[in-house]
Every structure is written in structure tokens, then in C-alpha cells.
């Protein structure tokens, strides 16, 4: 089951800089959408606001699913995450003292088995088995079983980025927000990522919002595109339309 993401006239300022200016976006349920725009247009800031890292100065963020609408404006990241929102970072943030596999397991919902009492009674073994099985199957799909027990310090930049994205896919999220998942990743892996995203979208109905600079790879994998520029929503539409929009071309080339 997917959810609808509603961003309502969100404004975010940092001192004198207006990073987001009354941005309104309605992502329909179970759609895979792209978010593009030149550097500094506010894409990551929007992600930060939606996922709870920042509180907007104006506007609201709402999640609509199963007939209910929840206002998540100003919630903490962990509370939003528990609502079924998963987010990855533009610059990979893997936990340095954990292996690749352990990093993936961190994002698995252990439920009550993450409590102190459960640890003392060692009742987490079954859940851990399931979690490891899922993590390893994801890694195997991308040919990464061999790095499962390596630490982030030992990985190449491309692998770090890939693991960051795969880690985000570990949860049963209803809304995935992926920040540049294709950056620094080989073409065949990028294609594999797109296939995996499509598969999850098809089987679980999860909604995807993907920030990307690699437009070609992105366009093949999304149903709709939003374009940000200087903190405002510049254009939106089907991938071909949005990209061939004059204003969008001008924003990327000029200014």
C-alpha cells in the first residue's frame, strides 16, 4: 500500500536565504516521481522538511493513506519514519563501526525485539534471521554479497552510494524518498535499481520520490516529474513534457 504525499505551500528560510518558497507538491499514491532542478534549487531541503529534519517556517506536510490524512509537519524523523517514510542521503551516511550487512539490518523493523528485555532473553533470533535473509537477498540481487562483511571505510564511493540506497529499501516503507540514488553508480546497476524500484512499486504499491541529476536514467524510471528552481516549483508534468519545457531548459543552462 502506498501513500499520497502532500506538500502544502512550504517555505523554509535560513537567515536571509529562502531555500523553499511556498512549494506545493501533490504526489499521488503508488506513483514513482522524479524531483529535478539545478544545484541549490532546494531539492534536498525539501526532503529534509518532509522527513522531519527541518520544520518549515510556513506550510504543512501531510501524508494520506488508507483514507486517513495525517499532518506530519514538525514531527521528529523517527516518528515520521515509523509512519512508513524511508529516506536516503545524497552523501552516503553509513555507520562507520558497522559492516554493510549490519548497516542494512539497522533499518529493519525489529519491533519489540529491539528492547532491553528482548535482548536479555535472546528472543530476537528469529527476527534477526528474517532480517539477514532480506538484507542478503537484496545484496545478492546487486552482486554485492562479497562486501556484506566489509566496513564502510573499505568500500569504494560507488559501493557506498549503492549501499546507502539499498539500506533505504530494507524497510517496508510506504513512501520512499531517494536522494540521487544513481550518483556514481555503474549503468547496469542503475538500470537494476530502476527495475527494483519498479518491482517494489508494483508489488507493494509504495510511492517513490527520487531526486536525480542523471536525467536519462531517471526519465526511464518515473511516471511524473517535478522541477525546482531557486526554491520554487518551476514546472511539473510527464517526464518528456517537463524536460522539454522551455523554462526548465533555461533554468539548467542559463542563470
Amino acid at each position: 500500500m502506498g501513500v499520497k504525499l502532500i506538500v502544502e505551500k512550504v517555505t523554509k528560510r535560513f537567515g536571509g536565504v529562502v531555500a523553499l518558497n511556498r512549494v506545493s507538491i501533490n504526489v499521488p499514491s503508488s506513483l514513482v516521481v522524479g524531483l529535478i532542478g539545478p544545484n541549490g534549487s532546494g531539492k534536498t531541503t525539501l526532503f529534509n522538511v518532509v522527513t522531519g529534519y527541518y520544520t518549515p517556517d510556513e506550510g504543512r506536510v501531510l501524508i494520506e493513506g488508507s483514507g486517513r490524512v495525517v499532518d506530519i509537519t514538525g514531527w521528529n524523523p523517527n516518528r515520521i519514519s515509523r509512519m512508513g517514510v524511508a529516506r536516503t542521503f545524497q552523501i552516503p551516511r553509513l555507520i562507520p563501526s558497522l559492516t554493510v550487512l549490519e548497516n542494512m539490518l539497522l533499518f529493519y523493523d525489529y519491533g519489540s525485539c529491539a528492547s532491553i528485555t528482548c535482548s536479555l532473553r535472546r528472543k530476537w533470533v528469529n527476527v534477526e534471521e528474517a532480517a539477514v535473509a532480506r538484507a542478503m537477498s537484496i545484496l545478492r540481487e546487486f552482486g554485492l554479497e562479497s562486501i556484506a562483511h566489509k566496513r564502510p571505510a573499505e568500500l569504494s564511493a560507488g559501493h557506498l552510494k549503492l549501499v546507502e540506497t539499498l539500506r533505504g529499501l530494507m524497510s517496508d516503507a510506504k513512501l520512499f524518498m531517494l536522494d540521487e540514488p544513481f550518483a556514481g553508480v555503474e549503468s547496469w546497476m542503475a538500470r537494476k535499481l530502476t527495475d527494483t524500484i519498479r518491482k517494489i512499486n508494483r508489488e507493494k504499491g509504495s510511492t517513490f520520490v527520487i531526486i536525480e541529476h542523471r536525467i536519462t536514467e531517471l526519465l526511464e524510471g518515473v511516471d511524473y516529474v517535478y522541477v525546482l528552481h531557486n526554491g520554487s516549483l518551476l514546472a511539473e508534468g510527464k517526464p518528456d513534457e517537463a524536460v522539454s519545457d522551455e523554462r526548465v531548459i533555461k533554468a539548467y543552462l542559463g542563470k
Binding site: 521528529n76 519514519s81 563501526s97 549490519e102 533499518f107 532491553i116 536479555l120 535472546r122 533470533v125 534477526e128
Partner: protein, 330 residues
């Protein structure tokens, strides 16, 4: 004639109590809790134990003697010699109270500030330790600078003093075993992984859905409770306590033991503690025999401990037994 057995029993008891402190600190460090105020909970436990151990028996026997004057202390001694049930009950009550007071204190003190950051938590705990020490120092019912004396050993009713010492040693080490069990079960579990995640990058842990301030509070409540029990064990072992025993240098001694052993390593922490506690205790014993007047005995002991730390860290910078391998033990 040097009493070797006595020395060994005392040394092992001393190491045991310090192990509880360092094992709990290992868990705290692994969770990103910078506990610079370990001594605060240790002292709380010790004073709670002392309060119960001295005031309660006197109150029960209806005596109006003060636990701080000769009569009171004499009376406590007499009572403890012939009252096994009272001795043991008072001891058990002190252990429970020590745990409860320290755990509650740790929880209430830090829950509001975990979300601000580890630096604030560290300094708050450090200053709390000192505030508490000054409180003990200036409060009459707590013995002020002289502190408590004559805290009854729970096994004082035994005919043989050596038997009492040995039994107490066993109690301490049962508790060390319990602490080790709990710390290792937690650290080697999915929760342990979450704790490490929290420590390295709290934001990522939050994004993974974990309520980090709440988890830190629960962990600190548990470790503070155990630290409090260690304080009770110390009070009943030494039978007298005073504010000078609870200075920040104790906290940093435990930190040295944990760092020496290798952060994240339970076994390393144990080795580091055994090494430093032994050196420290042996130095106390041996230095008076050297009879040096050039350097104050205390300073000489600190120099020796510092040198041992230096040598170990130079030869093994990652610690005595650094942790290798992952957390998942399937």
C-alpha cells in the same frame, strides 16, 4: 608476616567492584552516552547503603544513639554480631534502594537533555557528581567530612572474619557475573547494533525509526542502577565512606580502564580494569614499604599507573583486546 590470602581476597573484591563500574561504562560508551559522572551514581549508591545500614538497625532497636559517635558505632557493631537476619535484610534492602535511587536519578537527570547532545550530558553528569559530593560534605545527617563509619558487614555474625570476607567476595563476583551477562547480552544483539548506530550517527538512527533519546535514557537508567549497587557493595565492604572517595578522578580512572582495553570490547574492558585496578591496589600496598620521602606516596602511585597506561597504549594503541568482527552472531 604478610597476609597473602587476605591481600588476595581484598584485591579480588576491589577488582570486582571496579569491574561493575567499567562494564557498565563500556555499555554507555557503546551507546554514545558520555558518562563523565560515573562517580555521582556510585556515591549515591554508597550513601544510600550507608544511610540504611547505620540508621535502620539503630532505629529498629529503638536506640537514640547517632551513627557518628562512638556509642552508636559500638552499638552497630554489637547488633551486627548477633543478628544475621537483620544484617542480611539491611544489606539486601540497601542493594535494592541503591539500584532504585541511582537508576531513577540517572533517568530524571538526563532524559530532558539527551536530545541536546552528548557534550551537555557529559558535563551535566560531571557537575552533578561534584554537586552531590559537596552535598555530602556539608550535610550533618550524612556525616559531613567524616562520613559514615561502622557500616555493618552483612556477614559480621559469622564467627570467622575470614569467612565473612570470602562470602562477601562471592557476592560481589556474583554481581559482576550478572553485570557481565546483561552488558554482553545487550551489546551482542540487534539493540547493541542500534546503540552503536546511535553513537556513530544519531540522525541516521533516528531516520531508521529509533527513538534515540528514549533509548539512551533507558540504557543510562540501567547502568546507573548497577553503578549504584556497586556503590552499596563498596560501602559495605569498606564499612566506612566519606566524600573524598567520590571525586571525579574515580570517573576518569574507570574511563582509563575502558579505553585501555579497547572501546567496544567487553573483554578488553575487563583486562584493562584488572590491570589498572591491580596496579593501583598493589601500589597502595607496596609503596609504604619503599619508604620514599622524595615523592608523596599518592603521586608515586599515580605516576606508576600513568606509566602503565602509557606503555600499554604505545604497544597496543587499539587497546588490550580491541573488538574485531561484527555484532551479528548467527
Amino acid at each position: 608476616m604478610i597476609d597473602v590470602l587476605g591481600f588476595l581476597i581484598t584485591l579480588t573484591t576491589y577488582i570486582g567492584i571496579y569491574l561493575v563500574l567499567s562494564l557498565t561504562l563500556t555499555l554507555e560508551v557503546s551507546s554514545g552516552i558520555t558518562n563523565f559522572g560515573k562517580v555521582a551514581f556510585y556515591g549515591l549508591g554508597a550513601y544510600t547503603g550507608a544511610l540504611i545500614g547505620t540508621y535502620l538497625p539503630l532505629a529498629i532497636t529503638g536506640s537514640r544513639a547517632s551513627p557518628f559517635d562512638v556509642n552508636g558505632i559500638q552499638l552497630l557493631y554489637t547488633i551486627s554480631k548477633s543478628n544475621p537476619v537483620l544484617d542480611l535484610s539491611v544489606f539486601l534492602l540497601s542493594l535494592a534502594a541503591g539500584f532504585a535511587v541511582s537508576a531513577l536519578f540517572g533517568l530524571l537527570l538526563t532524559y530532558p537533555i539527551h536530545r541536546v547532545g552528548s557534550a551537555l550530558v557529559g558535563f551535566t553528569l560531571l557537575s552533578t557528581g561534584e554537586v552531590l559530593r559537596l552535598f555530602y560534605l556539608n550535610t550533618e545527617p550524612l556525616g559531613e567530612s567524616k562520613g559514615f563509619m561502622g557500616i555493618p558487614n552483612p556477614f559480621a555474625w559469622l564467627p570467622q572474619a575470614r569467612g565473612a570476607e570470602a562470602l562477601y567476595l562471592i557476592i560481589v563476583w556474583c554481581f559482576v557475573g550478572l553485570t557481565y551477562f546483561i552488558v554482553s547480552r545487550i551489546m551482542n544483539s540487534p539493540l547493541g547494533r542500534i546503540l552503536k548506530g546511535m553513537r556513530d550517527d544519531e540522525l541516521v538512527a533516528l531516520y531508521a525509526g529509533w527513538p534515540t533519546p528514549l533509548i539512551k535514557s533507558k540504557v543510562l537508567a540501567l547502568t546507573s542502577g548497577f553503578t549504584g549497587v556497586a556503590g552499596v557493595l563498596w560501602a559495605y565492604y569498606f564499612t566506612s565512606i566519606n566524600p573524598n572517595m567520590f571525586t571525579p578522578s574515580l570517573t576518569f580512572n574507570i574511563w582509563a580502564m575502558v579505553i585501555l582495553g579497547g572501546i567496544d570490547s567487553i573483554v578488553g574492558g575487563v583486562l584493562g580494569t584488572v590491570l589498572l585496578a591491580s596496579v593501583d591496589y598493589a601500589a597502595r600496598f607496596v609503596i609504604p614499604f619503599i619508604g620514599t620521602t622524595l615523592v608523596t606516596p599518592d603521586y608515586l602511585r599515580w605516576i606508576i599507573v600513568g606509566l602503565v597506561m602509557l606503555v600499554v597504549l604505545l604497544k597496543k594503541p587499539e587497546g588490550l583486546a580491541p573488538r574485531r568482527g561484527g555484532v551479528s552472531k548467527l
